[in-house]
Amino acid sequence: MTDHFDEWSELDDTLVDAPSGPGEPRAVSAAARQWLAEQWLLHGLLRALHGADAEAREQRVRAITERLGPQANRPPRWQVLLAAAALLLVMFVAMTKFGAGGPPSAEAAVVRAGDLLEQAVDRAFELTIFEERPNAERRRLGSFELTTRPGMKFHLQGGLQMGPMRIGPLEIGCDGQEIWVVPVARNVPAMSRPLTRAKQVLANFSGILDVGYLDVQGLVRELPQGFELSVTGRERGSDGHQLLHVSATRLPEQPASKFGKVDVVSLVCDESTGMVRQLEVHGRGSTGRSHAIVIDYLGPAELDTERYQKPK
């Protein structure tokens, strides 16, 4: 492709103190206009990137919300807005259930997080496992890097220390059909089974590892149906985002098997983005001991599809 930088450079006046380009938009070729738009796009993104400031952002938001007067027209037809995006759909659920003017609902926050987790994006989490003792003490058993994708795809890498016994380091994966374990050390047998027989694979981990919470998307999606949800707190995070704390307790009539070993889930939901920032899952392993699994959301990730499949 011919390099037109010298020819088009003068059209771009983003880099000079004052306008120096053509006085008024003149006839330029489609290619030049395209180049100019690309230059502008990056100019704006680079200005935004280098001017990012959480406090200034909050001030901007406040400046807008404090100036919101009454709407001139009749109340907006929220259904029209809601059809535009999944987020809006979630809010509609909250409004129809609790009525306009009610507090942010636990259910709305969880449904919204579930919708975001359903997007076809790989997401990275840090998963830390604790043993909970009767005296309310916690003992850290290990941690894993967890990457998930909707469709029951997950990839787990890490290890557990259970008393004197070290399990791992190892990799566990699931491609939606087959679940597999590959030891990095030799203290865990390599194994793979159809997903329907996941328990056979995970039995080596005293029931601590459970597809009930490794499928983060599935767990969050199921919470509104099988758990009683309630808001337990609200705070402003260090980045200025409003955070909603939600507790989910499994309903008595719901069999434990439906959600693996999960009894209670505590969630921290970011009201700005809708994403769940942390899940703390409480349940019992096959030995009857209580465990807490803390799952911190790290952000979107890029993982090759092959990583979810059993290594060849």
């Binding site: 930088f5 450079s9 006046d13 880099l15 000079v16 306008p19 380009g21 006085g23 938009p25 206009r33 395209q34 180049w35 100019l36 738009a37 690309e38 230059q39 502008w40 796009l41 990056l42 100019h43 704006g44 993104l45 680079l46 200005r47 935004a48 990137l49 990012a52 952002r57 901007r60 938001v61 400046a63 807008i64 919300t65 100036r67 919101l68 007067g69 709407q71 001139a72 027209n73 009749r74 907006p76 037809r77 929220w78 807005l81 535009a84 995006a85 809010m91 909250a94 409004m95 306009a100 003017g101 609902s105 709305a108 975001l116 994006v121 009201e271 700005s272 983005t273 952000g299 979107p300």
Partner: protein, 177 residues
Amino acid sequence: MDNRDFFEILVREQIDGLRAFLLSSVRDPVVVEDLVQESFLVAWRNLERYDRQLPFGPWLRGIGVKLLLNLRRKLGRAKVHFCDEETLVLLDRGFEQFAAIPGDTFDERLDALRDCMQVLTPQQREAIHLHYQHGLHCKEIGRRLGVHFEAVKKHLQRGRAALHACLMTKARLTGVA
């Protein structure tokens, strides 16, 4: 949750993208802040006119474009870069494609841009750093680097072109058009 709470969520979701869009085409950062505020206030007053076929972000940018063109007519080009509606349409399309980059927030999508800095030559990276981080103009950068003003301009423009190509690759797209 009342309408105001709901609208605040929309403000929080869209404010960074709208601001970046206006930073692309408006020279004066104070004017950008005014336009961001005004765009949201107009959107608030006219929510009923929102077209169900369009997502909220582009509709909001459309309001921003109208306010921007009004400003240009009022102030001339002093505070606005060379802008006409055709180029603004292409710019809007570019932001639409940027929104396709994985990420829950605008800032998370900017991570892709942070990654793309690696594709720049050392001269391009230095020029971009001095211009956007320190706010130096091309002539000052030229004096610091010992090169001509035009060479700095080329580093910046070629650097931005390289970043654009990298971003579009990340968005699995071939270009703005």
